[in-house]
């Protein structure tokens, strides 16, 4: 079958040349465990967002009822819905139609008892909220990381409720946690009263007010719930110093914010203004004159803290509190040592395997060795082309794959030996050897693929690297077995060099 041989050789050569080009011109992505850096898995507190959304909706519904002259006993938000207590059981259909008209498919309405109605967000709306929170979180984190000037960061969604951040080359885990984990919700609020005693303020508390602690926790402020300005109206923020020459962060408002703020300060001269960051009052200066677009955040900051805070404010606030579920930092020393060790391990494994197969299969063993090298080349090119990341377990996958890839060769060679022992000619033996083990070769590769693909459900970190190299390796091994190995055996047989 000389025609078939040439086709196989042509395909084999094409794959080899292509792989060589890819490997030569594009470096492979190294995982954080090899090049060093920080990785984190963060989860935004979606429950909190939903709870706040229920609170807002509850107050909107109350207003809606008043506007439409419907009297109810109470509208109370809870963690998983809003309860409406009716005065008359007959009001139900009126309420049902009104709410459905305004909120359409965003809510589900159910009747708990004749006088109690429960309103819940529909699953469509809930998943919309979730989606928004995650998308916003990713955007804000991306801007923050950009502000820090990290080279080649990775910030991606992980499933539908988590975010993964990878910062190569960054080693200061505590700082990274602060910069990424801070909500950074800046609010300028109207101060009603202030006192070192929490109880005094609690007595005065009205429904549209709330109590916030000062930065050091020694004082309490009674402020209006609705902020005058939020961080969303910020134009920029930068490092500066306060009047005592201590580090501080100055900010400027955009035109919409400046207008609101200008009007407010003009009408509240002599009153106090609270500058609130993440629900803590940083300072509460007295308004002396109309201020339109500038402000300053002071506190006992170090210069580093000021730089980070300014950067965070520029990048914007996170939609909700972020929980750090998992983080890791790998120093540069460890990664370098790991690369060195894996090279030694790789060479050792290669030599062991090659020694064994050449000892048993002589010149055919040499073709198997070449197939291992080709397989490695193909695997590497596959990694580069798919933009996959090489991790330490991934390297283990590559090295183990050497031993596994040679499996099919061994299978074929043993069969050829068997056919030769039966008295077949060399060419017939090769022909039968291949034909008769092909189904086994399919099955072995398929079962390995099943195992490797299942590993992909651990979609983060080093294990994914293991799954990737194994999957690509299994496919590469299949290709190299079908294309080069047989072609090489045929050539050796033709020039009478095949000893098996």
């Amino acid at each position: 079958m000389p025609k078939n041989v040439f086709v196989n050789i042509a395909i084999g050569l094409f794959i080899i040349v292509g792989s060589l080009l890819v490997v030569a011109f594009k470096p492979v992505n190294l995982g954080l465990d090899l090049k060093g850096g920080i990785s984190m898995v963060l989860a935004p507190d979606i429950e909190k967002v939903i709870k706040e959304e229920y609170e807002n909706t509850a107050s909107d519904i109350s207003k809606l009822f008043i506007k439409n002259h419907i009297n109810v006993l109470d509208v109370t938000p809870s963690q998983d819905g809003i309860y409406i207590d009716l005065l008359n059981a007959s009001d139900y259909s009126k309420i049902y139609q009104l709410l459905k008209k305004y909120y359409t498919n965003r809510i589900d309405i159910s009747r708990v008892s004749p006088l109690k109605v429960k309103v819940r967000f529909s699953s469509i709306y809930l998943s919309q909220i979730k989606e928004n929170v995650i998308t916003q979180t990713v955007e804000v984190l991306r801007r923050r990381v950009d502000q820090l000037g990290v080279v080649q960061p990775v910030i991606t969604k992980l499933g539908n409720s988590k975010v993964m951040v990878e910062l190569p080359g960054v080693m200061d885990l505590e700082r990274a946690k602060k910069v990424l984990g801070k909500t950074a919700q800046l609010e300028l609020m109207e101060v009603v009263d202030a006192s070192p005693s929490l109880e005094t303020l609690q007595k005065e508390l009205k429904p549209d007010e709330k109590i916030l602690p000062s930065k050091d926790g020694h004082e309490w402020y009674l402020v209006k719930k609705k902020p005058i300005i939020t961080g969303a109206d910020l134009k920029t923020a930068y490092e500066s110093t306060d009047s005592f020459n201590n580090p501080a962060v100055s900010f400027e408002l955009n035109s919409k914010g400046a207008e609101i703020f200008g009007n407010f300060t003009q009408s509240h001269i002599g009153k106090r203004l609270a500058i609130v960051l993440d629900n803590r009052v940083m300072s509460a200066p007295v308004i002396r004159s109309r201020i339109s677009d500038q402000g300053q955040i002071t506190g006992n900051f170090t210069p580093d803290q000021v730089r980070d805070l300014a950067a965070i404010l520029r990048a914007g606030a996170l939609p909700t509190t972020l929980h750090i579920l998992q983080d890791a930092v790998v120093g540069p020393t460890l990664g370098k040592a790991a690369i060195k060790q894996s090279i030694y391990a790789g060479i050792a494994s290669f030599l062991f395997v090659v020694f064994l197969i050449i000892a048993r299969y002589k010149t055919a063993g040499i073709t198997a060795t070449i197939a291992i090298v080709m397989n490695g080349l193909l695997l590497w090119a596959g990694l580069v082309l798919l933009g996959a990341t090489l991790t330490l377990p991934g390297i283990a996958g590559i090295i183990l794959n050497m031993g596994i890839a040679v499996d099919s060769n061994v299978l074929i060679f043993e069969r050829i030996k068997e056919e030769l022992a039966r008295g077949n000619t060399l060419r017939k033996a090769i022909e039968y050897g291949y034909k008769r083990v092909l189904s086994a070769v399919y099955d072995t590769h398929a079962t390995l693929l099943v195992a490797a693909l299942i590993l992909f459900q651990f979609s983060s970190g080093p294990v994914k690297g293991f799954a990737t190299t194994l999957t690509i390796g299994t496919i590469a091994s299949f290709l190299s077995n079908v294309y080069y190995s047989k072609a090489m055996l045929d050539i050796l047989a033709k020039i009478r060099m095949l000893k098996i």
Partner: protein, 291 residues
Amino acid sequence: MRIKYIHFIKYRYYSYVISILLILLSAFSLYTRGLNLGLDFTGGTMLEVRFQKPVNVKQVDEALSKVNIKDAVVQRTNTGDIIVKIRVGEKPSLVQKALNSIGSFELLQREDIGSVVSGELRKKAVWAIITALVGILVYLSFRYEFLFALGGILALAHDVFIVVGAYSLTYKEVSLDVLASILVVAGYSITDTVVVFDRIRENLKLRKGMDLGEIINLSVNQNIVRTIMTSSTVFLSSLGLYLFGGTVLSDISFAFLIGVIVGTLSSIFVASALVLDIKIILKRFKKQKTG
């Protein structure tokens, strides 16, 4: 290498005894010692540091107890680095403080895993093992008779259980990487079995009328050299990793070292023998029903 024709099927009861002993040993170890689960599954914080001057485990233990950290696991790697692991809830900053009091060091790596993640990973790990086994079972029953698939899966479960038992016996850490490695060993071990099954299928077609026991025996014999050779190549490549690869790679390759040996034995002695015995039992069962 020429191997005499061996009557594996006749001697299968001896191998059953060995397998059962190994399974009992694994079960006993799992029951009494349990597994040394890695941070991935327990949650907590791990710090690996390199001191400028050599430091021993005792010094670190003492420094940790001074800052009131209990239940910390302190290990010294073969390169002399110190690994400290604490559970969720203990403060990593205290560990840093304790280490600082011993001397100056370089932080090689640190990992914090919350209990939410570790809980999730534990669940996922169990699912991964189950789906892997079921996935392979489905594939095999699609390609072969269900009876063969069943024999293959039983042999596979036997291999996986003994590998896990080996981790328990040596008290090596079972991290997510190791779990992944065990799953791949499972995938590999079944390939060995598949090759034998493939041969049985071929021989069943070629030699109609021959007794199943004889056919199995012939097929195992025809494949024995191949089985030993391929297992050796995988064993050798994992040996390179085990000897030279450093902590992480060694832990991963240990699953392969043990798994390949057990997998080879089970594909020679267990898988096909089980197929035969299940068939015999089923036949008797049918006879009883009809008769």
